[in-house]
């Protein structure tokens, strides 16, 4: 698609795709860039960190129970009250927390965007019925729902994904539906109808791209929120089960020991806040990059 039709073209260069454009703008944002590199580091560390250590997640070192971090004995982040290596456990915990955050958010996005866009685009009675269903689901107590799931299906990490995703999509559906309602009134949607676009073409070209901004912002709010909800569940004994762990579970364990052995709290808490901060900065950067009008 290079412009070689006429030699008088002033503006030369490859025709950019939207994705490339977003990336170019995102590169200008230093906070987002630093956050992305940090998250990459955490992800890599979470994946290969446990392999590098000579301890595994449930190895108990009877010679080093609740010892402070030191290089000499190989426990970089120290050990917990049972003598398990905290470095390995923090990496494993980051992996699980990230996994839950991303998967549960994707599940809720998938359901929420479709549900909300259909309700908003078709409007009228379809919209009314669909949104009343959302209202009913909203009124269900979350903990009750999670406990029921656990009782019926036993403890399982996939149940946590489903439980969190099934609650979070309600918010996304509402937001997307509201946005779609206002988007379909826009002049350019009307213009597309005059130019002969089908419903699907309008949704694809005009509705969904204009939902991106708000959805991206919502993702960045949701991933940390999901990570926190998971740690809450773990705290109550409904989340991740020993010897598996998550950042939330590690923080709540560490909090109990924080007066005597502060490292048990500091390291997991550091990773948790690092992830939450980074996701927020990336979200801000992405929103500005995707919406050129707002950024100017």
């Amino acid at each position: 698609m290079s412009g070689d039709i006429d030699s008088t073209i002033l503006f030369e260069g490859p025709v950019e795709s939207t994705g490339r454009r977003v990336w170019l703008r995102l590169k200008q944002n230093r906070a987002a860039l630093v956050s992305m590199s940090l998250i990459m580091v955490v992800i890599v560390a979470a994946l290969i960190g446990p392999m590098l250590s000579s301890y595994s997640i449930d190895d108990i070192d009877y010679d080093a129970i609740a010892v402070a971090p030191s290089i000499s004995n190989g426990h970089l982040f120290g050990t917990d009250g049972l003598g398990r290596d905290l470095f390995v456990r923090t990496m494993e915990g980051s992996r699980i927390s990230l996994l839950i955050g991303v998967v549960a958010t994707l599940v809720s996005l998938l359901i929420g965007i479709h549900y909300g866009a259909i309700a908003g685009y078709y409007g009228g009675r379809v919209d009314a019925v669909m949104m009343r269903i959302v209202d009913i689901l909203y009124s269900m107590p979350f903990m009750f729902f999670v406990i029921l799931l656990m009782v019926f299906f036993g403890r399982n990490i996939f149940l946590i994904f489903i439980a969190i995703g099934a609650i979070n999509w309600l918010d996304i559906a509402r937001i997307v539906r509201g946005q779609t309602l206002s988007l379909k009134q826009q002049g350019y949607v009307e213009a597309a109808r005059i130019y002969g676009a089908s419903h699907w073409q309008i949704i694809k070209r005009h509705i969904i791209p204009n939902l991106f901004g708000i959805v991206i912002v919502y993702i960045t709010l949701t991933i940390p929120q999901v990570i926190l909800v998971e740690s809450f569940l773990s705290f109550l004994g409904l989340g991740i089960q020993e010897p598996m762990t998550s950042l939330g579970a590690l923080v709540s364990d560490g909090a109990e020991e924080m007066e005597s052995s502060s490292w048990m709290l500091i390291f997991p808490a550091l990773f948790l806040s690092l992830l939450l901060f980074c996701f927020n900065f990336i979200g801000d950067g992405l929103r500005d990059a995707i919406d050129p009008k707002q950024a100017d």
């Binding site: 698609m1 412009g3 039709i5 006429d6 073209i9 002033l10 503006f11 025709v15 950019e16 939207t18 826009q186 002049g187 350019y188 009307e190 213009a191 597309a192 109808r193 005059i194 130019y195 002969g196 676009a197 089908s198 073409q201 070209r205 005009h206 791209p209 204009n210 919406d291 050129p292 009008k293 100017d296």
Partner: protein, 325 residues
């Protein structure tokens, strides 16, 4: 819009068009639906190459008429028929009043202008598309080098040019302009109007031009339709209607139009406009009766049909204004 017509030169024929909108009742338990008639019994023809001006005050149904002609609104009664060689989505195009709102903020000028082709001729190859893009951007006075920019980076006048380029990309027969310049300032207005006129003479376009600015309509259009509360009160050749308005409403419109003449403006006697609620008006009465200076008892009893005033002018009034020969 599946009816087709055979008559020579006639591209579009509107017959007894009535458009009603349901009124949302504020009461929860309301019985029966109420409708608001935005257009009632509108009939006219559009011949090839002619510019048809549609004027009327706010709420007179101008925009409803434009949207119905574009196929966005289904007529409640009546029909819009088109000539056999016309494909609605390709040959009837639309220029919007709010040009910026009609351009998707996430699309570049290139994507915006080529958008109708994606729906109409999706198989066109890249070279041909670029050729058309360049041609149409230059035609409306835009710089081809700026094709990668977003709509909000352009001025109001340029946005309207983008809108016109987009409307022209499928080489339409009819261009419906819904107040295309009322959001622009005066100097840009003239440029856009001249652009439309140029396009018309180059491509033999048929223009439907909607505006509330009478002098503009007089300048651009060959024929004129005056709407009042959803009805055509007068239609005919522009000069004839402007020089000898037959309907009291048309005359009132022309009289209140400001003139570039300070002497005249200083001595202008304000035209008192009678309020609508001055007398009990039956549903059957002439729509204009509440404000009419010449009303007589017949006017309150029924709606006057359109009648021929001369070969160039029709008017819907029992007592059209007369002029000494």
């Amino acid at each position: 819009m599946d009816n087709t017509i055979d008559a020579q030169n006639v591209l579009m024929r509107v017959q007894q068009l009535t458009v009603e909108f349901p009124i949302q009742s504020t009461k929860i338990f309301s019985l029966g639906k109420q409708n608001f008639q935005a257009l009632s019994n509108v009939s006219f023809e559009i011949r090839q190459g002619v510019t048809l001006g549609i004027v009327g005050e706010s709420g007179s149904g101008k925009t409803t008429l434009a949207r119905t002609l574009a196929g966005l609104i289904e007529p409640t009664v009546g029909s819009v028929s088109i000539a056999k060689n016309i494909t609605p989505t390709r040959d009837i195009q639309f220029v919007f009043q709010d040009s910026l709102a009609a351009l998707n903020p996430r699309m570049t000028v290139e994507q915006l202008i080529l958008e109708p082709l994606d729906y109409q001729l999706p198989k066109m190859d890249v070279q041909q598309r670029q050729q058309k893009l360049k041609q149409s951007m230059e035609q409306v006075g835009l710089d081809y080098a700026q094709r990668q920019r977003y709509a909000h980076e352009f001025s109001g006048g340029q946005c309207q040019r983008i809108g016109i380029a987009r409307a022209m990309i499928t080489e339409p027969e009819i261009l419906i302009c819904d107040e295309p310049v009322s959001a622009l300032d005066v100097s840009v207005r003239a440029q856009v109007i001249n652009l439309l006129k140029d396009l018309q003479s180059q491509h033999g376009l048929t223009l439907i031009f909607i505006a509330h600015d009478l002098s503009l309509v007089r300048f651009i259009s060959d024929e004129i339709i005056v709407l009042y509360r959803g009805r055509i009160v007068e239609q005919g050749h522009t000069e004839q209607v402007f020089n000898h308005p037959g309907h009291p409403y048309t005359r009132a419109l022309i009289e209140v139009e400001p003139r570039p003449d300070p002497e005249f403006e200083r001595q202008r006697v304000p035209v008192p406009i009678r309020s609508q609620n001055e007398l009990e008006i039956s549903e059957l009465a002439c729509v204009y009766v509440g404000r009419c200076k010449n009303r007589q008892s017949k006017c309150t009893q029924r709606q006057p049909e359109q009648r021929v005033l001369s070969d160039k002018q029709n008017v819907a009034c029992f007592y059209p204004l007369k002029y000494p020969k």
